[in-house]
Symmetry: C2
Subunit: 345 residues, 2 copies
């Protein structure tokens, strides 16, 4: 026979509603009362019926995570961190992988509304801001992650992609490179646009402009990176440095460099954007722009939890507060793949 | 004003309970009735309250996925596939990453019971089979994925790790190699144990036994692979072939080989277990044992959905059926990293 909330409340010497507030994770209870209820629940082996309590409290304890894919190292790291942080506070992640498909994203958003999620974290395609607005209008806090479409409701937690790109390229320029190639993502995606802008801004500090012959912008795929590197390094006058700003393409770039026998950093200095667990162990260990994937996950979780906590208990949408933009700074991690060019030009 | 189920039923000309059955995804309704209800729901803009319907139907439309991590390529691929397949059938994934911590796993299992999940897919640590039994005893179908602890309840969908290892090592032996090294996972994990067994079985077919000096078994980390490869290749009498059976370690192995200047396949033939998106584009393209991550995800989803569909509607645990073991065959994908040894020994 299942233990009831009444029995827990009686054992703890509190009212049923107080016991319910403690067990649903409300913070508006004294620490002493909290301990009494929790220890009574544990002693009696009480397991809440979350479906029934969800109907009563209008809280599902579910958070929707809408994300592009799990193959990208930043995305899978962020997903792990978010899930852990939210779980620590009693919220579970409903995982929704869009593969950048706006139609799938749209269906997920409708479904998350049906499940009455308590919050939404979205790496959005940018094509469904109207639907995201419906979510927000239903009183569900929204955090835009990594991508923040114009007019998106809610808070945004973003990587400092432009700054990171500038750090990478200024490092190469400071070493004496003047022929710096760029391999990046498409211009239609925040990271693709911002990293290219940082690349151009760094070049401008030494009076240079991006040379179209040294720039390749394309999809987040391995073959794109391999082909771009083959083309750039096979040219009559190959660059002495490469800033690889497209994480998926980077794996194709590395394979192409091994295939062409390009020695790093002797013949080519290389900086990659986004860390991978084995870059420090590569030969040579790779200089990277660390975009702070772990911090992005932590901050998105914290910001969402803050908004959930400050929502009125009756489930009505609170007064609309202005969305906040939080940017996580990028860090340049200098390893051995970057050095001065052999003959300064 | 929200559209009610009554309005949908009236518009479709069916009873409320029939409309409810269609919209909760029951298969026991004629195709014609289904279409009528679905089109009425769509026309009217009906959105079900999943929490209320969950209490009524005892279905949450949630499936728990308990998995080790999302960094491993097989794990993140499987998670993507599972999520897509389950979503197509109206089920959402509650993601639970354990990091191989039995205490976290235990908490997740309790939490998933609280959320009244309709099914559980678990890559288990093996330390919580008693709790998994409780889940199963509550009438919730369980699928063990990649790891199947003794006495685990439910079905199991497993990779053919032992067979895959045999394929890899027999390929090396057929090319003429007799000095074959092994870098693998710990013996306490199914994949670590089974791949070593396949390695030993293949050697036995030519009258050899594993040479302890050529075997490294350790954690699923990049540094372990780097150190193991440095030690093996730095020995007085290095092997002519290497079967890298530990996916995470493989990235350390590749870095070490570049660092040592080992030419593949001229000086060392290399087979890696588990595919990565960039292995076909590596230099040289890497021969792999494809463990069928996509099929593992598809089959785990299908098997779970089959069990959910055959569960009686009243939510009682059905008569206990014997768990089924499904094994997904491994495939050897021969690329350019394997060749005959230069001087056959």
């Amino acid at each position: 026979m299942a233990v009831t909330l009444d029995q827990v409340a009686e054992a703890a010497g509190v009212s049923k509603s107080t016991a319910s507030r403690v067990l649903s994770g409300s913070s508006r209870v004294s620490a002493q009362t909290k301990r009494a209820v929790q220890s009574a629940a544990e002693r009696l082996g009480y397991r809440p019926n979350r479906i029934a309590s969800g109907l009563r409290t209008r809280r599902s304890n579910l958070v929707g995570l809408v994300i592009t894919n799990l193959v990208n190292a930043s995305f899978h790291r962020i997903t792990e961190v978010l899930q852990q942080r939210l779980d620590e506070r009693g919220y579970q992640v409903l995982l929704c992988v869009t593969d950048s498909d706006p139609a799938r994203e749209r269906r997920y958003l409708d479904m998350l509304l049906d499940h009455r999620v308590d919050g939404l974290i979205i790496v959005g395609t940018g094509d469904n801001t109207a639907t995201v607005r419906q979510v927000s209008a239903a009183g569900i806090p929204v955090v835009n992650l990594m991508r923040s479409p114009d007019s998106a409701p809610g808070d945004s937690v973003m990587a400092a992609d432009r700054d990171g790109a500038e750090l990478a390229v200024r490092h190469l320029l400071d070493l004496g490179h003047r022929s710096v190639a760029f391999i990046g993502g498409p211009a239609g995606v925040d990271s693709g646009r911002d990293r290219y802008a940082g690349f151009a801004a760094a070049l401008a500090t030494v009076g240079l402009e991006p040379d179209p012959a040294l720039c390749a912008r394309g999809p987040f795929t391995v073959p794109f990176g391999a082909e771009a590197a083959m083309r750039l390094m096979g040219a009559d006058n190959p660059p002495t440095a490469l800033y690889s700003a497209n994480h998926e393409a980077t794996f194709g770039v590395l394979g192409a460099l091994v295939q062409l026998g390009v020695r790093v950093p002797e013949q080519l200095s290389l900086v990659c954007h986004e860390e991978a667990p084995w870059f420090p162990y590569w030969h040579p260990p790779i200089t990277v722009v660390d975009n702070g994937a772990r911090d992005l996950g932590e901050l998105a979780a914290e910001q969402l939890l803050r908004r959930i906590d400050s929502r009125p208990d009756n489930g009505d949408p609170g007064e609309e507060s202005v969305g906040r933009l939080i940017r996580v700074g990028s860090r340049l991690v200098v390893r051995d793949s970057t050095a001065a060019p052999r003959r300064p030009e």
